[in-house]
Symmetry: C2
Subunit: 331 residues, 2 copies
């Protein structure tokens, strides 16, 4: 690997290679089930589909950055990935998705029933794993995150297709469905290390801001990117009638005719050829893609500034670079 | 209430009335959500639908029977009920059920998406609750139970409609989907109380046997009862093509013509008027209803005998009576 040219996630994966290999072994081990053969079938599909492992990498990195020398962070990193994977299985059922990371989803390959129940199994395995290190505060952080994630998902469900959805609701959903797991992933590291409270808070803030940034970028790219080459198509959120930030901001500035357009396409779901292009033109007219881009940049900046209470360290620099890397896609 | 005439569950609820009221308050409190209004709508529906609270009552009773004087058993009892309720929400999605306890199911009143995500929320709330007392062994027991439940559910899914399902697989499913939560509910009490290991084991065995008994009785009544008056109709399992104990035993003894009948009705799901009656006649011919009844009685007896290492106590007698009460419906 060309370490100079590599992106910050690749550089981080090299810096924590041994820990990451241990997490991957643990994930493979705990995803199995002797009693129900369907479980390893579905989970093997998920493992093979890959995924960047960004959340467990954050847990590993912050633990080492905080001087943690034990091995409980391996289990908590695997916990975080299991919660994430369980959430993806259930999300694909809820969104009726057919593709994830360029491959058919489990709900399509097997059925919704398998996705619901194997997701439950992974949640339970996550809780088994997080119990093992016996760190009560880490347990509290991770179980709270699981509840906040579910709340965010339910809120998103009820906000979907509702033109009255505000930015406040949008950010509440994002905090839940995305940022809660990032901030838990980055907060358990200093907790394990017994770091001072200002560092625990700093790493919570970093994860929270990075998670919000991550989601805002995702929502931006749905209208602004060239597809990510891994199965997501331009306009998927529009077709699924999701109220994402650029749409919410365009609706807030819409005139009567534009409101009728959003009502037809999003609230009533009556979409015609050319509607995606018209939606993008309306967002361009009101500058909401540009303002969404600015919002993403501001959150990346907030993530980087959050790291200031931490001592100088190559891993700290990589965390900072990761914030730039996440937001780089909108520039 | 006429305490003499009351059934053992009612007598137990009187004996632990204060604890049970505390559990019910805690359940109401923790089922709410400030951030996602859909959550309290769905959970209020579940609470109003009632339910016997048999699992949390067992946790409360065994803790007091073992001399526990703290209040952590309240949280663990609520945990057990939350896991149970989350499982019901997901079960109704998987089984595509329309009724539960005589009321429309949440998946029918709202949608499958809400049932999946509110179920996830209740799982997460369960884990938050179980973390609070800070008892690592209780945490291990309850998180293991959650994994075994999910395994049992997945195994049931893949065994459904499969005529080759053995009694061994049936009992593995029952151990998972039903007995695991009963045995966890009865094991955490002595663990909190710091009881001797033989009592911890005894109460695990009691819960396990009671749970198996409970499920075998349920499967028997699907063909043998007069309906339970709370929304379950005779033959529901047959229509859902479930391989329950009396059916598995009838298939094991079937001749060629009978096998063709089971293949058509269960494996292929091609059911005609009169098929339920024919299935019941085949089970009668091979005596599998009677042998299933005997199996239920044997498990109730096993549950009662498991209590022998425990000291004499009115609550111990009630637990014994509950085993008789569960199996009374097949007599």
């Amino acid at each position: 690997m060309n370490l100079v040219a590599a992106n910050p996630l690749e550089r981080l994966s090299v810096a924590i290679a041994d820990d990451l290999a241990a997490v991957n072994r643990l994930i493979r081990d705990r995803m199995a089930s002797e009693n129900a053969p369907r479980i390893p079938e579905v989970t093997a599909h998920l493992i093979e589909a890959g995924g960047k492992r960004i959340r467990p990498m954050l847990t590993l990195a912050v633990a080492r950055l905080c001087g943690y020398e034990g091995d409980a962070h391996i289990k908590l990193a695997a916990t975080v990935e299991f919660i994430h994977t369980a959430t993806l299985l259930h999300d694909d059922v809820v969104d009726e998705s057919a593709q994830r990371r360029g491959r058919p989803t489990a709900n399509l390959l097997w059925d919704n029933k398998s996705s619901v129940l194997v997701g439950d199994y992974l949640f339970a395995r996550a809780f088994q794993l997080m119990v093992e290190p016996g760190n009560t505060r880490a347990l509290t952080i991770l179980s709270n995150a699981a509840a906040v994630i579910a709340e965010g998902e339910v809120l998103q469900l009820t906000a979907a297709q509702n033109l009255a959805t505000t930015e406040e609701t949008y950010f509440k959903v994002v905090r839940g469905k995305t940022a809660a797991l990032f901030s838990a992933a980055t907060q358990v590291g200093p907790v394990l290390a017994g770091s001072p409270e200002d560092q625990v808070q700093a790493l919570f803030d970093y994860g929270d801001a990075l998670g919000v940034c991550f989601q805002v970028v995702d929502d931006f790219l749905d209208f602004g990117g060239a597809g990510d080459g891994i199965g997501k198509r331009l306009g998927d959120d529009f077709r699924e009638r999701k109220l994402t930030l650029p749409v919410i901001r365009a609706i807030a500035q819409a005139n009567g005719e534009e409101l009728a357009f959003w009502d037809r396409t999003i609230a009533r779901g009556d979409q015609l050829d050319g509607d995606l292009e018209r939606a993008m033109a309306l967002m361009a007219r009101h500058g909401t893609m540009e303002s969404t881009r600015q919002t993403a940049l501001a959150w990346a900046d907030h993530a980087k500034r959050s790291l200031s209470p931490l001592p100088p360290h190559p891993l700290r620099d990589m965390l900072s670079d990761i914030a730039d890397f996440v937001v780089q896609r909108v520039n």
